[in-house]
């Protein structure tokens, strides 16, 4: 008797998770997550920028220009993390066949591409006064550029099919192929730069004051919140696009 109860509990626990694989169940939850994350993103950005610009001291070697780090490093991290998340949902979608997983991948890609561009742009503007050049073919910079290419390829492929299901699965496969390649590309480029450049200039590595680290950490959480909110918004739009005929959606949108 006790045993069967245990079993049905396990089953129920499983169902709790699976329930949210259905767009109808996830749509309202995504809305709640989105709203919380917009608020968090705004608050954390305000706090982070205040600490970054009014509490953190001037850097001893770089002067004021180091303050770019508060957005540069979070953007670079997000570009990487979002790609991994995108590949994870793509793989989940291919294995389990859950259409919400594919939508999640599609929802993440544009934000990831934007983060890659922001990381490259701010890196260039930071690099010019610090190492005297806008662009260095350094492993991290080059990998971020290639990451951007992979995002663009993923989005272009997803849009190239009239049949959405086909586009889902095709782009998911490419996301996985890219995920396998990212580390290979990173180490190849790293090897290549040590080969060609006698003295490679590198950012960072100088000791940072605690308040600087705090500002960067808070901004990182702000970026997380922003990216989650943007992805959830896009996910809900996708659900609207794809389920436009269903009755539950008409109720939910009202």
């Amino acid at each position: 008797m006790a045993r069967t109860e245990q079993q049905s509990n396990d089953k129920f626990a499983g169902r709790w998770f699976w329930r949210y694989a259905s767009p109808a169940a996830f749509y309202p939850l995504a809305g709640k997550i989105e709203n919380v994350c917009w608020v968090l993103a705004c608050l954390l950005t305000l706090v982070g920028l205040y600490v970054g610009f009014f509490v953190a001291p001037t850097d001893a070697t770089q002067g004021e220009v180091y303050r770019v780090i508060f957005i540069h490093v979070p953007a670079a991290w997000m570009a990487m993390v979002i790609y991994l998340a995108m590949a994870f949902w793509a793989g989940t979608g291919l294995v389990l066949g859950t259409r919400l997983s594919f939508m999640m991948s599609h929802a993440l890609a544009p934000t990831g591409a934007i983060m890659a561009v922001v990381a490259l742009w701010t890196g260039a503007l930071w690099g010019r006064p610090t190492w005297g050049t806008y662009w260095v073919w350094d492993a991290r910079i080059t990998s971020t550029l290639i990451l951007f290419f992979l995002y663009v390829g993923y989005m272009a492929l997803a849009a190239a099919f009239d049949d959405k299901k086909k586009g889902d699965r095709a782009s998911a496969l490419i996301a996985l192929v890219g995920a396998i390649n990212v580390p290979i590309i990173y180490f190849s480029v790293k090897w290549w730069t040590t080969l060609h450049q006698g003295s490679s200039v590198r950012p960072g590595s100088s000791s940072m004051a605690t308040t600087m680290l705090w500002a960067m950490l808070i901004m990182t959480f702000a970026f997380w919140a922003y990216c989650v909110a943007a992805a959830m918004h896009r996910l809900r739009t996708q659900i609207i696009e794809r389920e436009s005929g269903s009755a539950w959606l008409r109720e939910a949108v009202k």
Binding site: F53, F54, V55, P57, T58, G63, E64, V65, R67, V68, I71, H72, A75, P110, T111, I114, V117, V118, W121, T122, L125, W126, R128, P129, Y226, A230, H233, R234, R236, T237, I240, E241, S244, G245, L249, R250, V253
Partner: protein, 55 residues
């Protein structure tokens, strides 16, 4: 207050172009994304309405 004046704040120790160029680019990117999020949502809702009206 660690800045002597607002002009010192905007000047960023002579590196204003690089600092504000970075933050400005982020702002542009975020605003562009928000606008596109809003417009695609609007279009999706509109087309849903249209298909419903057509029925």
């Amino acid at each position: 207050m660690m800045w002597e004046s607002w002009s010192a704040f905007w000047d960023m120790g002579g590196r204003g172009f690089f600092v504000w160029g970075s933050y400005g680019a982020l702002l542009v990117a975020v605003v562009a994304e928000l606008v596109s999020l809003r417009s695609t949502r609007k279009a999706a809702l509109q087309s849903m309405q249209d298909t419903h009206d057509a029925l």
